[in-house]
Assembly symmetry: C2
Amino acid sequence: MSRNKVLNEKIKDERREQILTTALRLFTKQGLAGTRITEISAKTGISQGLIYHYFRSKEEIFTTLIREAIEKINTAALELEKQPLTAKEKIQLALDGLLKGFDKKSETSDFYFIITHAAISENIPAEAKEIIATQNEIKYHVMARIFSQGQKEGSVKNHNAYEMAALLFSTINGLALHKAIYGKGYKMPNKNILLSMFLND
Amino acid sequence: MSRNKVLNEKIKDERREQILTTALRLFTKQGLAGTRITEISAKTGISQGLIYHYFRSKEEIFTTLIREAIEKINTAALELEKQPLTAKEKIQLALDGLLKGFDKKSETSDFYFIITHAAISENIPAEAKEIIATQNEIKYHVMARIFSQGQKEGSVKNHNAYEMAALLFSTINGLALHKAIYGKGYKMPNKNILLSMFLND
DNA sequence: GTCTATATCCAGATAGAC
DNA sequence: GTCTATCTGGATATAGAC
């Protein structure tokens, strides 16, 4: 590849990323239907026409983000699972990571939101629906396995493991929403309070 | 008022209610921007033109619902507070009521959702924003007072009362979302698991 | 009070020049 | 690769007949 081609590729990738990052923030705040392609154009400084050079439609941007978000979260969960740690340690790490991630309003929270948004909404592209239907529960299964491990080790309470996983992610999700709404003023709770739902003392 | 007038008033009220109920369900599933006035018309069987006889705009329907929802929830919280019960009993009642309410997918859950939706969204009518900003935190204050009472009584853990209230509603909200997404298959957890975050044992 | 028909507007997507 | 100008469709809201 010539010098110029390499450079062009780089610009292309950057533009693409710019569009995705901006769209992510807008989608989480306004939803798919509530976000105008004009806004993405304005906030990125990329002309409306050019956006269609990178993505076929608004829906495609959305679907791309859903795919990325789910993949990112699942990968993190699977990474955690295979650490050589006790279940108790893994659970603490998970909660800590999630709470911290939300507290500093990183992209992590937006990734969580857009998934939640897509999961409740009826008006999202079929492809995004499909991804959610098949991939979103992976993290629940991973977490359930960790809880099972913990029950064998004696550190985790004896409720149904999958239900505990669902409870964990639901709680985190609820807190993340709260944080998003009430913003900087609100500090995520200490992980120990949440841990009392899951661990024997 | 003549006989016919009374009857007309009744029909008018019913139509109004019909529009609101239908709109509520649609808004929670699709958001404000994602819901078409045509859909409300189709699902109620009320012609599009007639809807504008009852409400000035889609936004007005939305704002009306927000007002109703917040009022309903705040009233319930204040009612609970003034019962002659121990704090522990009040907390149990609150959790039980909320979990049960969500489990049978009553309007209660939709009321919660539309508030959450409005609270995160940037694209909602100014009036709705205003209501949320001033009225939505009332339930947090009420619940915080109940937690304080419980701390005096010795039943509640010694964390910041307001933060516990926020945690309680966030958790409930997260679970309600989860329920809405995974539907009938999912049963809300037993209240005792959640109680372990708040009560001394 | 209720419907049908219509005006108006605006957003998504495309075409074509540079 | 990038922009501006434009087409097209669909949604909100209104007008006017019954």
